[in-house]
Amino acid sequence: MAAVHGDAHGHEHDDHHPSGIMRWVKTTNHKDIGTMYLWFSFTMFMVGGFLAMGIRAELYQPGIQILEPELFNQFTTLHGLIMVFGAIMPAFVGFANWQVPMMIGAPDMAFARMNNWSFWLLPVAATMLIGSFFVPGGAAAGGWTFYPPLSTQGGLGVDLMIFSVHVLGASSIMGSINIITTILNMRAPGMTLMKMPMFVWTWLITAYLLVLVMPVLAGVVTMLLTDRHFGTSFFNAAGGGDPVLFQHIFWFFGHPEVYIMILPAFGIVSEIIPTFSRKPLFGYSSMVYATASIAILSCVVWAHHMFTAGMPAVGQLFFMYATMLIAVPTAVKVFNWTATMWRGSMTFETPMLFSIGFIFLFVIGGFSGVICAIVPIDIQVQDTYYVIAHFHYVLVSGALFALFAGVYYWIPKWTGHMYSETLGKWHFWLSMFFFNMTFFVQHFLGLAGMPRRVPDYNLQFADFNMISSLGAFGFGLTQLLFLYLVIDCIRKGEKASQMPWDGATTLEWTHLPSPAPYHTFETPPVIK
């Protein structure tokens, strides 16, 4: 997308690079790699979305219609894994690849070849994961959290899942090391840490979290693998192990993981709100501190996923208080965004709409998060649709909406073309409507006691499930509109100016033409 030839912009080297397929296979260019990350994650989003449509089609009516229970469990398991590891995380890494070097005035990522390697691991892992549907016994069916002993029971599909998690983990660790090194060493002269754009800050903190917890995930899946094949008993009580040990280790990874998926989203929104309010971000330093405290707190709250596993009252109280504490920095962020908008001069292009939609719905997800933190209530809603509603409010209308906002915001810089504002607005309003139709009613299903991960349900849950399924189909179709819109923008969008948004202040807008040339900032800009 970013292949623009010519040296009209005063770049010293020309933009020669291999063309055709080898350009993409061998590339070490952060923009090419970012593009590949984004297309890969969109493909995975479609695959995961297809699985979601299957789940919602089965749940459209009570009774078993199209998916037998075992296949249904495979669908839910792979939907979760693909969306988390294949869609959301790589999409943010794609944003980091494109934006971090441009926003800090660096020519490329610090480790360009490792960058290529960390991307090309992804299709391998994805192939193993999706391919596991076609091996004897089918894909893993123990939920995306693959708790043993159930996951010890599965067949080859579970092993493929374990290996693909290993590979995805390796890719994430390399990506994060690259991002940390780039941010700490390659900032333009004068750009002190406290002058970095918020998006860069959130990614720096996220990358540290990833380096901290990804090895823990790799460890726990390895323990599971040796339990399955090499006679160890880490999680098997008959051999002196403990199934709950798995949950502790998994969630020590898993809780920071949810912040890994939301902190860069905070970063994107923190870039967009000031731009379209034409006003600087309110409380920049408190935003940085809030992000850091969320990251630190996220490492000491893992057992709130396990309140029904049974632990001493003191344990439950500690994890409840720690979890509730996260609401404070999160609230500070929301207040800061509101204060940024306050007395601004706002316009409402698609990126701004998605950002406001993000804040609005993320706050609902935050409220249900606080409600889930209260142990007695959590025990009632644990493993019900309430939890499903909660985490889709933070991951779909949180992370995904922020990703959409980011794509609309930066696509003029990436492609040199404007997207269609009309279609963008349609995409926003349809997504907003169908998202709430799908997930809001799931709160009620959960409160009334419908368990998650079941292919069939009592008649009292029938009408809400039908509404939810119809909403999900609508949401799925709406995303095809997004695909059309992006292709349309790349192929025949109107030409974008260097600064299509009045209020933008970061380097990629102030210093670089649209589209950004293949090589940028070979001579670093000077920040005053």
Binding site: G143, K279, V363, I377, Q380, Q460
Partner: protein, 273 residues
Amino acid sequence: MRSKLVATLAGVSTLALYSSLAVGSKYNFPEPQSIIARETYDQHIALLWICLAIFIAVFGVMFYSILKHRKSVGHKAANFHHSTTVEVVWTIIPCIILVAMALPATKTIIAMKDTSSPDITIKATGYQWMWGYDYLQGEGEGISFYSKLSTPRAQIENKEPKGENYLLEVDNRVVVPVGKKVRVIITANDVLHAWSVPALGVKQDAIPGFIRDTWFTADNPGIYRGQCSELCGKDHGYMPIVVEVMAANDYAQWVAEQTKSATIKTSMHIENK
């Protein structure tokens, strides 16, 4: 004037909606039948109101700003970007609200954990895919049975119309007396399961090789239903839990019947040998 009216109407209708949601059991927790379930229910409603108030306050400000501070109405951007006082205030206020939320929950948690001196102790064991029950102590000691889904396969496959308790009915119910403290010891035989009865406010994972416990005291006679709440494989959706709470004399009668049929079964077993 008109916008004020619209805002008021919107506010009132939201409140009305939320209150109506709180009443219908379809939109809320089932009618609580134990002290723990009651406390949980009340805390949840209180939290909903607090969240709603915060929601209206925050988004009231944001939407006012969206309406008034837009470029299309000619609003010029101010240039302020921090205020330590404001930031300190809006950090402290959430802390206070959280403390208010945590206090009642803390009391309930401590009460939930107190499984001491029960009147009856029942062991529930999760199997793929049914529950086994053993009455270990108190009136009914020695009773033991399995409890399986009794919904016919034909209903699941859409060949027969589905009944009212579709997927929530079992062949043998757990029977307990009303007003007595029942301690449930929970474990599993193969994989994780979870024993859950929402109306009684209990949910506890069943962990193979380990024992966990919980308790309830049912307020009223009746039949309370729940489902396995931890993914346990293919038929996870088909292992419900049904607790029947009986008056003391009915319970005594049930115990007598169970003990008698158990004796018959045992003697038949001996004769067969």
